[in-house]
Amino acid sequence: MKVLLQTCAVVAVPLLLVSCSGANAADPASPPTYNPYPSGILPADVESETARVQSEVQSIFQQALAEANALPPATVTGQPPTQQGSGYQSIATLGKLMNFDVNMSALKNMACASCHMPYAGFGGPIPSVNLTMIAYPGTYHFRAGKRTPPRYTYSPFFPALAYDDTAAAFFGGNFWDGRSTGYLLQSPDAEQAQHPPLDSQEMGLPDSACIAWRLSQSQYVAIFERVWGAGSLTGINFPSNTEQICSTPAGAASFGTSVTPVNLSPTDRNRANVIFDHWGQSISAFEKSKQVSAFTSKFDAYLENQYTMTSDELAGYNLFKGKGNCNSCHLDGRGTTLTPGQTDNSTAAQANPLFTCFGYTNEGLPLNPRDAFYYQTTPDALGFTPNPDGFGYRDLALGTFLRSGYGSAPNPNAEWIPLAPKSDGRFQVATARNAAMAPSQCPTTEAPGPYFQKGFFHNGYIKSLKQLVHFYNTRDVFPFAVTSGHCPAGTTEKVDCWPMPEVRNNLDMTTGKLGLTDQEENQIVAFLQTLTDGYTTPYPNIDSFTGQCTTGGTASTQGNETLIPTPPLPPCSSNVCAIAPFPNPAIP
């Protein structure tokens, strides 16, 4: 039987976008600044740097508006209906608008991009924050999260979180702790985009319906409906106090225990939920486009015989897959371990290797006492206390998520709960791609620079790629039973003293004593720098950084001037460590 495709509609949607700046409703009043931090925890330039990033974000938002206005007329045809020719471009453009829209935070001062700018590989954009408090200030200044913002280049390529029975391990998901599983949308990246807007310490919207509300008030209603259908964003009967509710940061005592303070009918609640899903899916489409996940690095060119690595880069690559064993987790998709005289003539297992195994591992990072999370132990003006446990908090990462534990999210699969002890301390293996990405004017992460200061791993303890490789190489060569800031006299932290792991359970022993020389460490760094997008084609908005580069010092001790002594640690909080099934062994 022949199936005839019928043209169901030809629609040319006039976008009628207004290219203007600023919020589209009166900016909500900010509550009094929350500053529970001892002197020196907040960087001195945090306010000016936050303003700098907001300006950059708004500039790219205007760029996205111009791109939306330049979209060709939409032609929806076929069954199922498809926006022929321009569908990909339309949804990615919509996602870009959403990603750079500061109105999607409670106080209209923070977009997703505020913690994820292009020049940082869509990671943290403020050097002083990366150097010190590592977690970014949220919409309510200065609440802050607890981890570094993960780079979201290539995050759409992670599969939905699953426990692989054959491998007896978890794969996929998004976030450091895997809490964005993708179980519902089957896209962990799309679900990831749903979390920060509702996080009390990030964008702070108190109800997912606030996304539907703010989108309905946005400058790009037309493009939303071009992508998701006429009427898909309008028609919800929002109560008159919706903006007042959405302008009150999440966690406020006035909400009590309600997670749906916007009072909607069941029908309208369902419609708002669908819009919220479209929000995540649109942003994921943007993140999967070449504007974010570009595959334009030197390494990509090398795979296509369009780039010849330098001797150091090639030596670093051979170490990466050989003695350094980096590609046991950061998979390059190719053959490995050549013996003298052999030639690598293997073909790539994947067209574009992603340099991650999508797995989870505990590398044994020391607790970073500069993490702003530890200090938020008192209530803010809205009666919200971000971290009542202070330094009693331990980051068990995937293990805490599987327990639906404190500071994570509900685990949607009860079968996984018994696996929590085996998962304690394990964080997602990030792609190595774009770890080295930095703005055009300070195009390295390494001192003496001029360099752009990044923070590596989940808690930003590591400040340069040199330190990162040195950590893998010598963690077990220079171990000391001390916390950060207490290395013995005569040693240098991160050089010949590594403080003890924050979480000892499930400590990965693939690395820790690799036997690399100093030169070999540098060669691996040189190879990592070949994984930065923008070689074959300029990376979009790599030049949007308007801040200052840093110069001086050495990569080995980069940032050591900001080390502070870890205070005596109280026992692990019962909120974290006394949730069954208990960590084994018990965490002190």
Binding site: E67, A70, L71, P72, S86, Y88, Q89, A92, T93, F157, F158, P159, D164, D165, T166, A167, A168, A169, F171, G172, A285, F286, K288, S289, K290, Q291, S293, A294, F295, K321, N325, S328, C329, L331, G335, T336, T337, A349, Q350, A351, N352, P353, L354, C357, F358, G359, T361, D476, V477, P479, A481, R504, N506, L507, D508, M509, T510, G512, K513, P540
Partner: protein, 161 residues
Amino acid sequence: MNRLILTLAMTATMAALFLPNRAAAQVPPPAKRAKHVRIVEAPQVEMSTDHLTIIRWTTNNPGGSDEHYGVVQYGTDPKDLNKTAKSPIRLNQGHAHTTFRVRVDELEPQTTYYYRVATEESGGRRDPLKSPISKFITPGPGERIPASPQRGRGVQPIARQ
């Protein structure tokens, strides 16, 4: 006319940027299990403090699940190895050999411990590996045996099992 060409060029450029990429997310399948797993570098103390010892050894690549565990069964009586320490590692499917390293924590100082090693897949399936019983002595309080093992200078086996 020029404006039209410019508009078309801009549209094409932006369209190219918004097109999706080609990589697919794949979880690599586990490697084929080796028929025989043998020790090619004997177990040895990599580093030891008064409370912590790291034991390392190398085998041919056992294959199976990428996530593997090194296992050390240990105790102060060579006939009663009543404690077990396990540490995860990831196999590199392209490597001919695999080095296992296991942290043995909460030891007593200046104490002789006997041990043997094993390897297992993440799901608990033991690899077919035969290991001798070896021993190590923890240093005194505050002392440290540095992490500088020499290749081939492992702790001598005291018995075959």
